[in-house]
Amino acid sequence: MDNRRYNLGCIMESVLFVSGEAISINDIADGLNISIAETEQVIIELMDYYIRNNRGIRLKKFGNKVQLHTYIENAKYIENVMQPIQKQSISSKTLEALAIIAYKQPVTKNEIEQIRGVKSDYSISSLLAKGLIANIGTKDTVGNPILYGTTDAFLSHFGIDNLSALPPLLPLEELNINNE
């Protein structure tokens, strides 16, 4: 049984290497003809293996997908040796809108603007273009405004597994303590 697990880990590593881009756990389970539960178990073991053995390649999971990536501490060495194309970070204005969408989803443009106190058309269109948010329906009120929500690309961009792994919003009572 252990041998089988070891083999599956070995196979999955090859699959993930070739895939490069994020691949869904369901697709792996289907392709290897094993259960999703077993696939997830092997993924956890593989993640653990990379960490324990101090490997330069790591495995991350976000939403229902997994992807190989380089060890974060190695970024500077990679950049010294070659010039990889870096993903761009989000501007602070756009990040504000994104944070509101992440915590309040599904949410309308108007509700976002209410919290930010500024027009947010540009931020929203830029987030849509980056694929970090998506139109996930319309609100059942006057004018049927579009509702926005975050995507898997959002989770990947911030390196989080799922929405519940977002940093917690501070309760109001603690706000002023934090001010010091």
């Binding site: 970024a75 993903k87 504000e96 209410q114 106190g117 390196g159 002023n176 001010n179």
Partner: protein, 245 residues
Amino acid sequence: MSFINISLNNFNGPLDLLLYLIGKAQIDIKDIFISKITEQYVQTVYINENENMDTIGDFLAMAARLIEIKSKALLPKDDLEEDTEEEKRLLIIQLEEYKRFKLVCEQLNKYENDSLQQYTKLTEEIILPPQEYVLIDHSIKSLCSAIFKLIERRLIYNQKTIHSKNIKQLSKETITIKQGIVQILKNIKSGTFLLSDIDGYKTNKEHAVTFFIAVLELLKLGRVKTKQNGIFNSIKIQRNEKING
């Protein structure tokens, strides 16, 4: 006061600027109205008045809101007071809510920076080897018969194309659409008939195409009716009685 010498471009909006001023003054958000924040805010917007309207618009709206609250508070106490208290309360709630997101944005920024340092790669372009054929369940006999069938088919094909080997010949049109129409009309005099029954329809590709176009033409003119019982079945052609009769 040096801190008012700041550009609005450094702020994500009026709430951001207000929080900055509150932080500078080291006061509680709830104390915003018993402080000098309104004056400082208005002054900051004032020195930035040359900014374009897109940038400054939301800041001006907030300035108006602050001044309104301030000026109402100056009036003698009457019914207005409740109104003002409500406006103050709403602004404080808005500031607090905004601040929660502001704080979480700092966290997300760290997450993002970490994540941006994790390089990933694109999918490999891998050419898979050609598919292998499994011949296990076949006897020599069945293989032989398959090959004979193939040879037979090849022979027939060769006989047909022996003259046009390598050389493509453009043959003269042997039948025109007009002739096709005449022939179809002649055929339908005797009632319903199948398109595939026409002489040459099955054997000659050119005839088949010409007759088919002829039928389409007749349909367009309303001279015939056609019927086909399902895909790939024969097409029945019939005189259109309404017009001809």
